[in-house]
């Protein structure tokens, strides 16, 4: 691998801060990118990595702080401007146009290629760029059907065609196989030797340590450290990533664990997750920790029958259960509060009351089969009081409420189904501190009432504070179940990032 050159920086961010409403996304972050250097940026979910990328690509403008390119201050207003300055980004999911061929994809952002397509030249130029990268691809082949790695190669070629100087790679390896990762890293090496500055965002420690020349850690929007790779150790980096205060969190009251409610054995869904084994008891909060994309939500979707498992067994209340549809799951007494409020959760144009009664409409019919609106409203009012939903009336459209209140409406909707097992998927994402604390209280109360709860959260301190036990997943596999006493931030993060595997404990 080429040594990083010690020359003037290509790009510098100085004292950049950015705030979204209540959240300080970035606070006084300075970052320097050198030509021919791979700069790894790591941090937990929500540490501010995405905001940083968006500032560099002109999607966001920072509240304070400056960006410099070759020592000159620049203001980037949109991603086209970023491109013309030589800053490009590629993402986990490559954005290729499936119906265009490889060459067209490479040159899609070029505007000055004349009035009439010169196909011969297009193909020749495309081949030249791919040759530079030592990639063998038929440039006349449509992008549809290319492997993810090949699509990424196309994206990288596209960046090169735009004379990229700073390339941001946002978790490019997340969905690649080991072999494809090797291929990608060869490309990264080629780019580096051509003098491109690369900002590499990754979650897998060993990859970061393999490819990076410099490692920067972000936590809660602050820059924690930025050092050459050979000066840092892995466990040191992990400690820096997780060093958040748990003290702010409301801790779950310990309740006597009730009877066994559900046992899951070897639950799998091909290509998504495999061999998930756990028990959950009444009155217990089982946390699901892991990085985004670790397969936690997929397990939840399987338990709720939306994307059913294709292997393993589920025992519910001592009886073998088959869950192939959400209806079956609901009949068993399972409810799932999705992380995707807008997409999967609520019908935004409909009122609070009608949203709450939607899955349980049958309960609100009178003898003639008509909906009793007054009963519906009574229920909605009850939940409004109980969960402190702030809305002028239960007839207001849900879409008009704030995120935290929408979350509570969703919770009401599923609590009203009177479940025995409640699966909460990121219940506090994107809601303000106060609403968060309220949701934590609600979880606590529900567990005390004997409900079994599976809590999926990417907020590590939250999972630790709220759970009796924590199940950690990584890339579709269960890395272990930790009791409250042994579940430290370091232990969980280490498991989630794959430092060492831990024997799966089914019956902790």
């Amino acid at each position: 691998m080429a040594e990083p050159t010690t020359q003037a920086p290509v790009m510098e961010m100085q004292h950049v801060s950015m705030r979204f409403d209540a959240t300080q996304a970035l606070e006084d972050v300075s970052l320097t990118l050198y030509s021919g250097e791979v700069h790894a940026l790591i941090g937990e979910n929500g540490a501010g990595k995405s905001t940083l990328i968006k500032i560099m690509t002109g999607v966001h403008r920072p509240d304070t702080g400056t960006l410099q390119l070759d020592g000159q201050p620049v203001h980037i207003h949109n991603s086209q401007e970023a491109q013309s300055l030589g800053i490009a980004a590629i993402y986990q999911e490559p954005m290729v146009f499936p119906d265009l061929n490889v060459a067209e994809n490479i040159f899609i952002s070029h505007r000055n290629r004349g009035m009439v397509m010169n196909w011969g030249r297009l193909y020749k130029d495309a081949e030249a760029i791919l040759a530079q990268l030592d990639v063998k691809l038929d440039v006349r082949m449509p992008a549809r059907g290319l492997t993810l790695a090949a699509q990424q190669a196309v994206e990288i070629a596209k960046a090169i065609s735009l004379k990229v100087r700073v390339l941001i790679m946002d978790e490019p390896t997340a969905s690649l196989s080991a072999h494809e990762v090797d291929q990608l890293f060869r490309l990264v090496g080629a780019l580096r030797s051509q003098g491109v500055a690369i900002l590499f965002i990754g979650h897998r420690m060993e990859e970061v340590f393999r490819i990076a020349d410099r490692i920067t850690v972000l936590r809660d929007g602050k820059l924690i450290s930025s050092r050459p790779r050979r000066e840092v150790k892995r466990d040191q980096v992990i400690r820096e990533m997780v060093g958040r205060e748990v003290g702010d969190f409301f801790a779950k009251t310990q309740v006597e664990r009730g009877a066994l409610l559900m046992s899951v054995h070897g639950l799998s869904r091909e290509g998504v997750f495999s061999d998930v084994i756990f028990d959950v008891h009444q009155g217990e909060v089982l946390g699901f920790a892991g990085l985004i994309g670790a397969g936690r939500t997929d397990v939840a979707l399987a338990l709720f029958g939306i994307a059913p498992a294709d292997g393993g067994t589920i025992e519910f209340e001592g009886k073998a259960a088959k869950i192939h549809s959400s209806k079956q799951a609901m009949n068993l007494g399972i409810a799932y509060v999705t992380e995707d409020r807008r997409g999967l959760g609520l019908s935004l144009p409909m009122s609070v009351a009608t949203n709450i009664s939607l899955p349980t409409l049958r309960r609100y019919l009178n003898g003639a089969g008509l909906i009793r609106r007054s009963a519906e409203q009574r229920t909605a009012e009850e939940y409004r009081d109980m969960l402190m939903i702030r809305t002028p009336s239960v007839e207001v459209e849900v879409g008009k409420l704030s995120g935290g209140n929408q979350q509570k409406v969703m919770l009401s909707k599923w609590l009203n189904a009177r479940p025995k097992l409640l699966i909460l998927d990121e219940p506090t994402r994107g809601i303000d501190v106060r609403a968060k604390a309220e949701v934590h209280h609600i979880i606590n109360d529900l567990a005390e009432q004997g409900l079994a709860i599976i809590l999926i959260s990417s907020d590590l301190p939250e999972v630790l504070a709220m759970s009796d036990r924590v199940l950690v997943m990584r890339e579709g596999r269960q890395m272990g179940i930790y009791d409250r006493a042994e579940a430290t931030q370091e232990a969980i993060m280490t498991a989630a990032m794959g430092q060492h595997d831990r024997a799966v404990e089914a019956h902790a």
Binding site: F304, S326, T338, P349, M350, I371, D432
Partner: protein
């Protein structure tokens, strides 16, 4: 302002605005067209509204689920012709049998749409564009380009359009108009009080959430198409009664008028928003415009359609602007304030 806000939702205000718009248009044409304010005008327009309104109610059900039914015009023509020929051959058929036959034929044609869209997962716009042409072609084939003519129809049918349910002075509420009003009321109740109706909204506003809530989404969409077909069938009967003479082009253009009525009436083409009552108002607006423009001597025949189109566009555009304004007024900042008392007193700042 605050009291108004608590009492009404933006949608209700939209309906009020629509009503005012209709009144405004009527007043305008009153100054332009001689003898406009007459019982004849009212009776003519009300009978013609009746047909469109019934189709528009069916269209509403489909559009609420984020689909569209473009075949309704063909279904109206098809049922009008089929029922008409049956009647010319069997003059003795009982009125109720005839109506049920029309509704049944329409429902079957609607069911074909429904199967293809809900179970075949073909986009509704493609499906019903196809069946629009197919139903019409079948009609041409079975009719052999013959027409149903009035004097072969039983007398009771010819009398139907002239049946009065009610009279205020010269103004008659005709049976057909009354029938349309009954349809509107029934379906307004259906969408508000039947689980099936509620689920139409749920599916249209968020199909994925509906799936998660465990609905039989396909069956509900299928039924929406069946209902749309059945109502178009009923409209076919009304069409037959109104005109008596049915050619193979009968009902052509109704699909567009019904879509226009639904959209003008505030039903969102993205599904989940709107009501049969709104569509009814939309139908009135469209039909008043159409009938008045025909009699307005100031514009030539050639410009009539263009003007109608322009007015529809204008209505929808204004509506969008007004609704956005209203929604902003209604989306109060006080909802974001984390204190529940703020909700009760809030909103003064935004009331202007």
């Amino acid at each position: 302002m605050n009291a108004i806000r608590r009492r009404f939702q933006p949608e209700q205000i939209r309906e009020l605005v629509l009503l005012l718009l209709i009144v405004g248009i009527v007043l305008f044409f009153g100054t332009q067209i001689e003898n406009y304010f007459s019982a004849r005008t009212f009776n003519r327009i009300s009978t013609s509204v009746a047909v469109i309104a019934v189709v528009a109610v069916g269209q509403t059900l489909v559009v609420l689920t984020r689909n569209i039914d473009l075949s309704v015009g063909s279904i109206v023509g098809f049922t009008a012709y089929v029922v008409g020929t049956q009647l010319t051959q069997h003059n003795e058929l009982a009125p109720l049998t005839v109506v049920l036959m029309a509704v049944g034929v329409g429902a079957v044609l609607g069911a074909i749409n429904g199967i293809i869209v809900a179970y075949g997962r073909v986009p509704a716009i493609i499906t019903t564009l196809g069946t629009l042409a197919i139903y019409r072609t079948i009609l041409v084939q079975i009719s052999g380009a013959n027409s149903v003519v009035t004097n072969e129809l039983p007398q009771w049918l010819i009398d139907v359009p002239r049946i009065n349910v009610w009279s205020f002075g010269d103004l008659d509420i005709r049976f057909l108009f009354m029938l349309a009003i009954v349809v509107v009321i029934v379906f307004q109740l259906v969408v508000s009080y039947l689980p099936w109706g509620r689920r139409l909204y749920a599916i249209g506003s968020n199909p994925d959430a509906a799936r998660i809530a465990g609905f039989p989404a396909q069956r509900i969409v299928f039924m929406a198409f069946v209902m749309s077909g059945a109502l178009a069938g009923l409209a076919g009967f009304m069409f037959l009664a109104r005109f008596g003479n049915i050619t193979v082009v009968a009902g052509q253009g109704i699909e567009l008028e019904s879509v226009a009525a639904v959209v003008v009436g505030g039903v969102s083409t993205n599904g989940g928003i709107g009501s049969p009552f709104g569509a009814f108002l939309g139908a009135i607006l469209i039909d008043v415009l159409q009938n008045s423009l025909i009699r307005w001597l100031a514009i030539s025949e050639f410009w009539r359609d263009a003007l109608l189109g322009l007015l529809i566009l204008l209505a929808v555009a204004t509506d969008t602007v007004i609704m956005n304004r209203l929604r902003k007024l209604w989306v109060p900042h006080e909802l974001q304030i984390s204190d529940s008392t703020a909700v009760k007193q809030g909103g003064v700042d935004h009331a202007g």
